[in-house]
Symmetry: C2
Subunit: 414 residues, 2 copies
């Protein structure tokens, strides 16, 4: 039996036991995990050191090294994260509606776990803890497959969590890590339809593409974000500048950061020079359309490719558009359906933007950077869905559940 | 440009216009379609006659011929179906919640169309009309790909609908039929990710399997139903008999029909002889486990394969089980997560069955045959989902929509 089949079988069996696990037990499990992580700080740091040494030998980037590193503070943060999830309201078991039909049948819908969730992610050890906690809270079994660079850290975190969780009453097999980090195993995991109910990939465009191509398990795509801010002709320039600067520069590496600035041509000459100078002073490279280049000579010419790009970097594409029609058409053509914003004082244009833009989150007069489970008030986040089915936008606990119909009869036949 | 790309592009373009289509226009469109179908009865019957002639020449089964046939009564029924959809409440535009965050952002969720829906189905002309009506009502563009046996009927129905709908204000390209019914085109359609938001296959296990293997577009699986009735030791025999007979024989060809009967061993000797005699008198073939064979000699021995089978026919598999634990374990192992029923007078066992069975619809003391959008009170049905994400069980109008976050700010940055 391969590792995948063995862990898949164990997870499927555990998922049936998880359906009936009490909220009290789940709370005990999560608290035990949080305590165990802190208690095993030295061990976890030592195991992480192996990954760091290997990564340095391979010469990976500083940004990746930083994401991979675990220290006492970060372990304490992971434990706090688990405690926060424990404190959230349990969504499982809620009956969202129940109605009586003419024939006397009582038909309702009840919130239940998805079953077995598989998560494929990159070299971020904190995701191992985070994802396990969210799945336990929602009574799901989970199979994790992290990046090879973090394998020692992930194995250590998983063994600490398993020991604490199973002792506190979590059914064995509920949480597991695939230790074979080959690409082939990842592909097999995507096709493990008999054991996995939902696959959630968390990572860059390459991973998402591979999942879409290969998966036979239902997928919730999380996502890449080619986000736009459209500055309308009728707007407060100061507000527009604040929003553009925040959306672009507060954290350029994340999916809700701005990638393209669209400006109404009626204000382009007045607005762009100051705006682009400010961005440039913040070390943002400007890639402009022809009209932008005429207004702001220091810009680099943008190519067709730039409109599609998620830079995740200090680069911005800038395009002058002929009003809201062109802005909406441009966004709906090039965006990845993540987060889009308009800055305007005009009521009708605000409404048109909200109605006509096809994206998970559409903003009037606010930064795209708010698309986040915590900022939306969910208290947790498993990722941001850019697909339209099941979940759209930030996914919290509820998005890790499904509804089943429960029907109470007294002998009805059709 | 291939037919698929041309119709996909037209549908995608139409989908943006559909977002803002008024309820009044949609009602006018649906009424116009209903009227046009009736007015063109002769033309539709003539075109259908070509399909019937071809089908007869190929020697297809009577059951399939019946499903393929169109007559004046059936056209009137299709038109009535469209009028019923028109009369349903429009789900689009509902704001399901809106909340104010500490920073003053107003964050809400709004019900919006999915965008472009593709539906692949078999040789049933009524689905062409039904699916188009449901998609129009929910402001979705739709691309239909019906079975090759019904191509003349489908082309005629589509041309009648398009002419009436576009004249009444539906954006051009909103509804279309793929006229190339080759298998290769179907596979390409499943991978048309740039133009299609969701794919809904409606058909047998072969179609579903092909979709799962090939699709890169997000899929809502509809489905095959290996449904069980478990007759508990503590139950009303008369009620159990009624439910089993109804679930098995009222319409054996449909997905919510019973395929396997499970009986508690404590009552097997008392209950089974009468029950199986009644089924046998209704021409149902009995395939029994060893214990069943000992009790009822006229049964055929069931093999392991039988427990997996969706017969869709006058055949039933029968197994004696050691109480509710074995019943639940058997169902969770062999079912297709469609509809499952228990017949019992025992409160605790009813609750365990409801909680522990993994299926879209779980019944206490009622026939599995009620799993149906109309029976559930939705007024419409596009299919029955057997997957867990997005929609589970009968899908009505709401399941053809998604939610988008709308955020009202006054300059907030993060």
């Amino acid at each position: 039996m391969t590792e995948l089949i063995q862990k898949g079988t164990a997870a499927k069996n555990a998922s049936f036991k998880l359906m009936n696990l009490s909220q009290t037990t789940k709370s005990n499990v999560l608290k035990a995990i949080a305590d165990a992580l802190v208690e095993n700080t030295d061990y976890l740091i030592n195991e992480n050191a192996k990954d760091i040494a290997n990564a340095k030998a391979k010469g990976i980037s500083d940004a990746m090294l930083d994401r991979l590193s675990v220290n006492a503070k970060r372990i304490a943060d992971m434990a706090d994260g688990v405690r926060s999830v424990e404190a959230l309201q349990d969504p499982i078991g809620e009956v969202t509606y129940m109605t009586k039909r003419p024939n006397g049948l009582m038909i309702g819908q009840k919130r239940v776990p998805l079953g077995v969730i598989a998560i494929i992610y990159e070299a971020r050890p904190n995701v191992t803890v985070d994802a396990a906690a969210l799945c336990i809270k929602t009574s799901n079994a989970v199979i994790l497959r992290g990046g090879s660079e973090a394998i020692n850290s992930n194995k250590a975190l998983m063994s600490v969590m398993q020991k604490a969780a199973y002792a506190a009453g979590l059914p064995e097999g509920s949480i597991s890590l695939i230790e074979d980090t080959s690409r082939q195993t990842a592909t097999e995991l995507m096709r493990l339809k008999d054991y996995i109910d939902v696959l959630i990939p968390r990572g860059g465009a390459g991973l998402i593409k591979s999942v879409v191509e290969n998966a036979t398990v239902p997928v919730i795509e999380t996502g890449t974000g080619n986000c736009h801010v459209y500055v309308d002709g009728d707007c407060d320039f100061k507000m527009a500048e604040n929003i553009v600067i925040n959306a672009k520069t507060s954290r350029p590496s994340v999916c809700n950061a701005e990638e393209t600035l669209l400006v109404d041509k009626s204000i382009a000459k007045e607005f762009l020079p100051g705006m682009l100078k400010k961005l440039s002073d913040l070390n943002v490279e400007i890639r402009g359309c022809e009209q932008t280049l005429q207004i702001y000579q220091d810009a680099v010419p943008a190519t067709e490719e730039d409109w599609y790009k998620e830079y995740n970097d200090y680069i911005i594409a800038v395009k002058v558009v002929d009003g809201i029609d062109e802005a909406i058409a441009h966004i709906n053509k090039y965006n990845t359906k993540h987060s889009e914003a308009i800055v305007t004082n005009n009521y009708a244009k605000a409404n048109r933007f909200l109605n006509e833009i096809d994206a998970a989150a559409v903003y009037v007069n606010a930064s795209t950077r708010f698309t986040d489970g915590f900022e939306f008030g969910f208290g947790a986040e498993i990722g941001i869905s850019t697909q339209k089915i099941h979940a759209r936008g930030p996914m919290g606990l509820k998005e890790l559940t499904t509804l089943k119909y429960i029907i109470y009869g007294d002998g009805q036949v059709r």
